[in-house]
């Protein structure tokens, strides 16, 4: 029976494990991924509306949790990185943080263990919004020409270096920023899922092997899967934090007087 279970395990894990058939309907409109996104959004909205339906000066526990989440992004990221001006970006940054964090957490929820952010579509559109945001605030502050000049020409760069500096600055600011934002989040969640797959499915494969000693090691494999799940919790929150932090840094460099 054990042998039979192991035989059913798809091994090794492959990219196809990330592409599941739609739950219903045509194309990819209604898949596990889109469903989890909707559920994460619904949970977030419901929690915040319920926790904040009747705010008090002395907060209740749920109100305190909701305030802490917002306060963390507001004071810990927006105000810290962007400065006093950052508070007006705090609502968006907090929404972004919650969206990424809740979606990432699907990666370790038992029975789901698959984050929507393992599909690059989600990190990609978030990165594009951040990209548009930091360019827009820069252009709004300085006007298009001044903003581009601020971004491309570092103050004090010697003239003969400009032909080299300008393309580098352009690439790093306008090409690599959105790409790295999207890829970092996507790759972390993707790799996290692969790791969990390797150790969980690997445990079944080892259990089904003919070698008795190898079958025993399956316990170790699953133990590592549990440790990795805890590690993934850290990664899920950390990546949400990094995404929001970098968005703040980009906004800050766009509106800074001195580049």
């Amino acid at each position: 029976m054990v042998r039979g279970l192991a035989a059913e395990v798809p091994w090794p894990p492959s990219v196809d494990d990330f592409f599941l058939p739609p739950i219903a309907g045509p194309d990819n409109w209604f898949t596990k991924f889109t469903l989890f996104v909707w559920v994460a959004v619904a949970i977030t909205i419901i929690f915040f509306l319920v926790a904040y339906r009747n705010p008090k000066l002395v907060p209740t526990k749920s109100q305190w949790i909701a305030e802490s989440a917002y306060g963390f992004v507001r004071d810990g990221i927006a105000k810290d990185i962007i400065g006093a001006e950052g508070i007006k970006f705090a609502p968006y940054l907090a929404s972004l943080f919650l969206f990424i964090a809740f979606n990432n957490l699907w990666g370790i929820i038992p029975g789901v263990q698959l984050s929507p952010n393992t599909h690059i579509a989600f990190p990609a559109f978030l990165a594009i919004i951040s990209y548009v945001l930091f360019i827009w605030v820069g252009v709004k502050r300085f006007g298009f020409a001044k903003y581009i000049k601020n971004q491309l020409i570092p103050p004090g760069a010697p003239a003969w270096l400009l032909p080299l500096v300008i393309p580098l600055e352009f690439a790093s600011t306008f090409l690599f920023r959105p790409l790295t934002l999207a890829l970092r989040l996507f790759a972390n969640m993707f790799a996290g899922h692969v790791i969990l797959l390797v150790f969980t499915l690997g445990g079944f494969v080892l259990l089904g092997s003919d070698n008795f000693a190898l079958a025993g090691i399956s316990i170790v494999s699953w133990a590592i899967a549990i440790v990795m799940t805890i590690f993934e919790l850290l990664v899920a929150l950390l990546q949400a934090y990094v995404f929001v932090l970098l968005t703040s840094v980009y906004v800050q460099t766009s509106i800074a007087e001195e580049h």
Binding site: V15, V37, V41, E67, S95, H119, I120, F122
Partner: protein, 187 residues
């Protein structure tokens, strides 16, 4: 492991490529994220900002109220101390005054008593002196009159007998002895 990696790479080149986004997911993601942002940014976070502000106001207001109360208390304390000091000074002043008054009253009473006794003594002396003078005057006039009467009687009764003469002299002397008594009862 290398086997595994190769499989991933192979699969990536196959039907599914993990770095090519599925456009339907972008649409769904944008809508879901938009809904989340809209609701949180419209209904939740602004109210949190209000709460934060209210909290700051409450704390600052509390501190301000406490400071005001403390200042008022300090002022009252100062005022009470001042009033107490004033009251003490006043009491001391009143005591001193009373003491001075008492001394004055004693002095005055003594002076008045002395004056009164002097006055009484003087009046007594004057009265005595006046009486004495009037008595002397009366005695003088009476003595004169009596002397004249005695002389006339002596002359008138020269011829009478020895016994009668003796009796007359004795009667005269008796009258003399009564006279001062009669004069004294007049007063």
């Amino acid at each position: 492991m290398p086997n595994n990696l190769a499989a991933v790479v192979l699969a990536a080149e196959g039907e599914h490529n993990p770095v090519v986004p599925i456009w339907q997911e972008i649409v769904i993601g944008l809508i879901a994220f938009g809904v989340l942002c809209f609701i949180l940014m419209k209904f939740v976070f602004p109210r949190m900002e209000q709460t934060f502000q209210a909290r700051v106001d409450a704390i600052e207001g509390g501190i301000k109220r406490a400071e005001a109360a403390q200042a008022e208390a300090g002022q009252l304390l100062e005022q009470y101390k001042q009033q107490l000091a004033e009251a003490r000074t006043e009491a001391a002043r009143i005591r001193d005054e009373a003491r001075a008054d008492a001394a004055g009253i004693r002095e005055e009473a003594a002076t008045r008593a002395r004056e009164e006794s002097d006055r009484i003594i003087t009046a007594g002396r004057e009265a005595l002196a006046g009486e004495r003078a009037s008595i002397v005057r009366e005695l003088r006039s009476e003595l004169g009159a009596l002397s004249v009467e005695l002389a006339s009687r002596i002359v008138g009764e020269a011829l009478a007998d020895e016994a009668r003469r003796r009796g007359t002299v004795e009667r005269f002397l008796d009258e003399l002895g009564d006279a001062p008594t009669a004069t004294g009862s007049k007063r």
